[in-house]
Structures are given as structure tokens and as C-alpha cells.
């Protein structure tokens, strides 16, 4: 394009005249003198000069319009920003091959909360306003300087809302027959240990005014020295899961309380009172038997209670789908006995040996793909060969912490099941609880810490993208 224009510019008026006439009225050899004379006359040369000038003007203007259109059509991607997050991008015409802009300025930046420095091309600051913002790049091409005209190219700058601001906190319906508090946090003495437990409605439920589907229950039986802690996670897809979770926890606590009173653990007491640091095979076998029958009985009792609730309420048993984990603890003179049962994807972990050892006390039901968990409401779990694998027993001189948690805590903090068996992950988890986290919220796990409920409650609000499920965490220490 540029070379053609140059050629035309350089064309002499006389040359133009000759070419023009040759195309319009070819002249014979015999009239060359006439042509030569015509093309030398001042007035015609003058006319040719004016035509050339006009042509030049037309070309220039058309090329400029073309250029403006090309600039308008060119794809320009400016990195997106997010409200509240420091933003920095470089935005200069030459980046896009617009070296021919002789002047430019960027308008419309103010409303985004950013600042533009034309010298460096730096667009920076902390975005305040979310939206698809239209920025206007005003520029001048050659010739615009003289006339004072500015051309415009609109640019889109996308500012995302702060994800945290998008979550709503809608109250749950208190009139609902299965309503429960959105949060419960308790810290109290449990036997000769101390229990801190918190259960919180997740952001995904708060966003829609949904209920907390998690639940827990605990009790210390002073008559015989046993303690029990139960945690349950109601399935998100089941409409009364919140009640399923509540009932499953309370049913096992109630059932085992009765069994303890009825002396169902007397033989275990005898065995353990007389046992050494390690249990002999015979004692192991007897204990396993008791664990299987008593804890299995409790699980079955929970199932039957849920079945009955489904019948009386006219709902389906599936409507109450919930996972269930629980642990019984008792101190003997040589150490502690811990008995556990679990169905579903919530872990029970025992940290002992000065935080150097961890024992995962239940085999978690985790599917190959998300959602492969099992529930206490499924009759087949009791028939399955794997039922015997749902129990755990531990005999330790002492322990540091016993944790029971739902996937709302385990998913963001441990990610995969395999990590639950690594002591270093538990040490990191404890450090997190002590304040080594993005929010700097610390929980002092000390008996009698009056601020413990408030501290634990604050910690439970930790931010983890994509992890906004209900959270329940029970810590026995």
C-alpha cells in the first residue's frame, strides 16, 4: 500500500496527463506533436496536479479509515482482575502493533479503581468495582494532530467480584420440623480428657438458607468411666439428612449408655484391668468380639431408629442418608482403650506417641470417583463381608489427640485418604489449628481455656476455594 502511494505521489502531472489521455483516447503516431503540446500547457498541467492531489487525499483518508477499522477489529485481551486483589498489567499501543499512534490516552479507568500511567503503560491498583468495564483508548494517527481529532478504540476490562462477597448468609427455616442450629461449638471436660467440638453449616448451605446436615453427640458415663463421641454427616442429596445425622449420633450414644449400664462391657473391663502393655491373642480375640457385638449393635440400633422414623414420618429411609463414626474411650491404670465404628467417608484418627504416630481407626468408604460413600441408612452394609472391617480397637499407654471429623474439614485439610495416615500431615494440621493459617486464627487446645469455643468457631470458618460443605470437628485431648 505504502509503495503504491509513494509511486503516485512521485508521478509528475505531465506523466499523469499522458497516461490519462492514452487510456481515454489513444493517439496515433501522427498526432504525437499535438499530444505533447497539450500536455505542456500550464492550465492542463495545473488541472492534473489538482487531480493528483485529490486522489492523494482520497487514498490517505481511505487508508486511515481502514486503519481505524483494523484497530477496532483487532483482538485485544487485557488480563482480568478481581475486586480486592492487587492488579497489574501493561497496556501500551506498541504491544498491539499500533506504533503509528502519535498520541493516546486511556479513559474510563477511574470507575474500576485502577490507575493508568501512559508513560510506562502500567495499569495497576486494587480493583473496586466488578463488571465488564468498557475502557476507551483515545488516539491520534498522522494528521489528527493538526485537526485535533481523536479516534476511539473500546477495550474490555473484566473485573471479577470477590468470591467471598458472593456468598450469602440466609437463615435456615426455624419452623421446619427438623430445624437445627446453624452452628454448635462446645468445649468441656469429658471424663479425664477434654473435648472441643464444633459443627457449622457450610457456606453452600448458608447461601441458599439450607440446613446444617452434619451433627454430633457425646457423653461421659460417670458410673463406669467410659466416654463416647459420635459424628455424622448427612448426605447432601437426601432431603432429611440433617435429621438422619442427628438421630444416628444420639441413637448410638443412648444405646451404648444402656449397654454399659447393663454390664455389657464388664468382661472387657476385667480383661483390660488385668492386661499388660500389650494384649495377648486370647484377650484380643475376646475384646474384638465385644467390640463387634456392642458397637455393631449400636450401629444396628441407629439403623432401626432411622427405619422407624422413616415409617412414622412417611418418608423414605433414603431421605435420611447419613454417615456415622463414633468412638468409645476409657482410661485404665495402664493406659487407654479406644473402640470405634465407622460407615462413610469421615475419619477417626488417634495421635499418640508424642505426635509421632497416627492410627486411622476406621476404614473409610471412599469411592473411585466422588460420592462413593456409604451410609448408616443402607441395610446392605450390615450384610456385607466388609462389615467386620468397620470396627477399630486401640490399646495405648496414652494419646495426644483423638480427632473425629466430617469431609467438610478433611477434604480441604487432608485432601486424600492416604494423607490421613501420615503423622507429618497431622502435625501440620495441629500447627494450622495453632494459627499457622492464612487467617491467623489460633485455637489454644488447653483444658479450661475459656475462649476455646470462640477460637475453634473462628478457625472453622477457614477459607478454601471449592470447599464450602458443612464442617464438624471433634478433638479429644
Amino acid at each position: 500500500m505504502l509503495t503504491v502511494r509513494k509511486a503516485r505521489k512521485e508521478m509528475e502531472p505531465k506523466q499523469y496527463l499522458k497516461l490519462f489521455l492514452a487510456t481515454r483516447k489513444p493517439t496515433g503516431e501522427d498526432k504525437q506533436a499535438l499530444l505533447e503540446e497539450f500536455c505542456s500547457q500550464e492550465q492542463y498541467l495545473d488541472a492534473a496536479s489538482r487531480i493528483l492531489a485529490l486522489q492523494d487525499m482520497l487514498m490517505k483518508d481511505f487508508e486511515k479509515k481502514n486503519r481505524i477499522e483494523d484497530i477496532r477489529r483487532q483482538q485485544v485481551l487485557i488480563p482480568n482482575g478481581t475486586v480486592g486483589k492487587p492488579y497489574e498489567a501493561r497496556l501500551l499501543p506498541e504491544q498491539y502493533g499500533w506504533q503509528d499512534m502519535i498520541a493516546f490516552r486511556l479513559e474510563g479507568v477511574e470507575i474500576t479503581g485502577l490507575v493508568y500511567d501512559p508513560a510506562s503503560g502500567q495499569l495497576s491498583g486494587i480493583p473496586e468495582q466488578a463488571g465488564d468495564h468498557k475502557l476507551s483508548l483515545k488516539y491520534q494517527l498522522e494528521g489528527d494532530g493538526a485537526t485535533g481529532t481523536w479516534q476511539e478504540r473500546l477495550l474490555t476490562l473484566i473485573i471479577n467480584p470477590d468470591p467471598r462477597s458472593l456468598w450469602k448468609n440466609r437463615p435456615s427455616d426455624k419452623e421446619d420440623p427438623y430445624w437445627k442450629e446453624d452452628e454448635i461449638t462446645i468445649a468441656e471436660k469429658l471424663g479425664n480428657k477434654y473435648l472441643a467440638v464444633s459443627s457449622k453449616r457450610g457456606r453452600s448451605h448458608a447461601n441458599t438458607g439450607g440446613f446444617r446436615d452434619d451433627d454430633f453427640a457425646f457423653r461421659y458415663f460417670s458410673e463406669n468411666g467410659w466416654s463416647i463421641v459420635a459424628v455424622s454427616d448427612g448426605a447432601g442429596s437426601a432431603r432429611f439428612a440433617r435429621e438422619g445425622a442427628r438421630l444416628a449420633c444420639s441413637a448410638v450414644v443412648e444405646f451404648l449408655g444402656q449397654q454399659l449400664m447393663a454390664g455389657a462391657f464388664a468382661e472387657m473391663d476385667t480383661l483390660l484391668t488385668n492386661a499388660g502393655a500389650a494384649l495377648d491373642a486370647e484377650a484380643q480375640k475376646k475384646i474384638s468380639h465385644i467390640v463387634y457385638h456392642q458397637l455393631g449393635g449400636a450401629a444396628q440400633h441407629a439403623f432401626r431408629q432411622l427405619e422407624q422414623l422413616a415409617t412414622t414420618s412417611g418418608a423414605l429411609l433414603n431421605d435420611f442418608h447419613a454417615t456415622l463414626i463414633f468412638t468409645l474411650v476409657k482410661q485404665y491404670s495402664q493406659g487407654y482403650a479406644l473402640l470405634s465404628f465407622g460407615v462413610g467417608d469421615c475419619p477417626i484418627a488417634l495421635l499418640y506417641n508424642d505426635l509421632q504416630s497416627v492410627s486411622l481407626m476406621n476404614k473409610m468408604d471412599v469411592g473411585e470417583f466422588g460420592g462413593g460413600t456409604r451410609f448408616i441408612t443402607l441395610p446392605e452394609i450390615f450384610q456385607s463381608d466388609s462389615f467386620a472391617g468397620r470396627f477399630g480397637f486401640k490399646w495405648v499407654p496414652d494419646f495426644n489427640y483423638l480427632f473425629l471429623m466430617t469431609d467438610g474439614v478433611y477434604d480441604p485439610k487432608f485432601e486424600v485418604e492416604a494423607n490421613l495416615e501420615k503423622p507429618e500431615r497431622w502435625q501440620a494440621f495441629l500447627a494450622d489449628l495453632k494459627g499457622n493459617n492464612a487467617e491467623n486464627t489460633a485455637v489454644a487446645l488447653k483444658p479450661g481455656n475459656a475462649d476455646l469455643p470462640a477460637q475453634l468457631s473462628a478457625w472453622m470458618d477457614f477459607w478454601s476455594p471449592g470447599n464450602h460443605d458443612d464442617r464438624t470437628l471433634a478433638i479429644l485431648f
Binding site: P161, G236, S237, G370
Partner: protein, 212 residues
């Protein structure tokens, strides 16, 4: 974090020139703006655009919603649906993280395919490759009366047809895609399960005829 991969496979053949292609571009843009308002979607949904005409290419790699930018698309050429399915299969292989004992992989991808014509290449070969990939849900959209619903039905059970390819109708389709992604990102968050069928998606609007 487990991402929710979403692949939009869009026909950019010559017959899409003009209003339809502009409508597709605007539809994607509106969809992205709307998804950005959903707290679950903005954290979990990752979007990729694959376009196909005489051949297929991944126009936008799997990108988080917050960083997503729609690039220019132009319509020309034929309808290489088979190549699109091959490119899609390869993208799923390289971009979607699998679950291993050490890491939780991504959610299984959602795939939305839109075409207004009849495949002009050996699409069965592409389908054979695609069949080996694990996806949560594939929705095919036959845009306009000339689209070949029979071949789409072989790709997935979930086929919708648009009567026309005017801007309003195409826009309704993308509004529904947006609602479906929103619903899925909420569902995986609350239940830990993927969407696997129609019945779990928002009901399609009247402009979307379900092909049975």
C-alpha cells in the same frame, strides 16, 4: 481443589457465518459473565472452547472462570465433527486431572457440543476415541433444522434441537448451558456427586426441543 472442567465444542463452519456465529460469541460471553456471579461456579468451573470447521482446534485451553476471555471466532469451511471429538478427547487426556491415592482429581467433565450441519468427515472414528473418555455428561445441540440429530444421538442421549439459528434462540441455549453449569457446581459442592443426566439439570426452555 477439584475443578469442574467444562468443554464447549462449537461449530464454526461456513453455514454459521453472520448472525449465528455472532450469537454464539455473545452467548459464550454472557454465559461467562453470569457464571462469574455464582460463588460456587467462579471457584470450581473451568471452561475450554474447541471450535471446528474444516478441522478442529482448541481455541481456549481449560481456564478458570475468573481468568477466562473469549477470543474471536470466524466461520468458514466444512463440518469436521470427528476431528472435534478427537481434539476434545486429547484435551481431556492432558487437562483433566485423574484421581490417584496421592491427589484428588478433577470432577468428570461436562461437554456441550453445538453444530448446525451434517458432519463432513469420518465422525465415527472421532466418536470411537471420545467414547473411551470418562465424562459426567455430554449435551449435543442441533442448531437449526439442517443439523444432523441422528449422528448427535449416537454421541449422546442428551440431544436438544433449536428450531432456528437466530440470535435469540442461540442465546437461550447458552443461558441454559450457564444454568446447567451453575447447578452442577452447586451440586458437586453440596453432595459430592456429579450430574449424570437430564433430570438433574434445570429444565430447558421452550426453544430447546428435546430429541428422543
Amino acid at each position: 481443589m477439584r475443578r469442574l472442567p467444562v468443554y464447549l465444542v462449537l461449530d464454526t463452519s461456513g453455514s454459521m457465518v453472520g448472525e449465528p456465529i455472532e450469537a454464539v460469541k455473545n452467548g459464550v460471553q454472557l454465559m461467562i459473565s453470569s457464571l462469574r456471579q455464582n460463588p460456587q461456579a467462579i471457584e470450581t468451573a473451568f471452561i475450554s472452547i474447541i471450535t471446528f470447521d474444516s478441522m478442529a482446534r482448541q481455541l481456549v485451553p481449560l481456564t478458570e472462570l475468573a481468568a477466562f476471555q473469549m477470543t474471536e471466532i470466524k466461520a468458514s469451511g466444512t463440518t469436521a465433527l470427528g476431528d472435534a471429538l478427537k481434539v476434545l478427547s486429547r484435551c481431556i487426556d492432558t487437562e483433566v486431572a485423574k484421581t490417584t491415592p496421592e491427589q484428588k482429581g478433577d470432577w468428570k467433565p461436562m461437554v456441550f457440543i453445538m453444530t448446525d450441519g451434517i458432519p463432513t468427515d469420518n465422525w465415527e472414528a472421532g466418536l470411537a476415541e471420545y467414547r473411551q473418555r470418562k465424562t459426567a455428561l455430554t449435551v449435543a445441540c442441533a442448531a437449526g433444522a439442517k443439523a444432523d440429530t441422528a449422528s448427535l444421538k449416537k454421541i449422546t442421549d442428551t440431544v436438544v434441537q433449536l428450531d432456528t439459528t437466530d440470535a435469540a434462540t442461540i442465546s437461550r441455549f447458552f443461558t441454559w448451558v450457564s444454568a446447567s453449569i451453575s447447578a452442577t457446581s452447586t451440586k458437586i459442592e453440596s453432595s459430592g456427586k456429579e450430574v449424570t443426566g437430564w433430570e438433574e439439570l434445570p429444565p430447558p426452555p421452550a426453544e430447546l426441543n428435546i430429541v428422543v
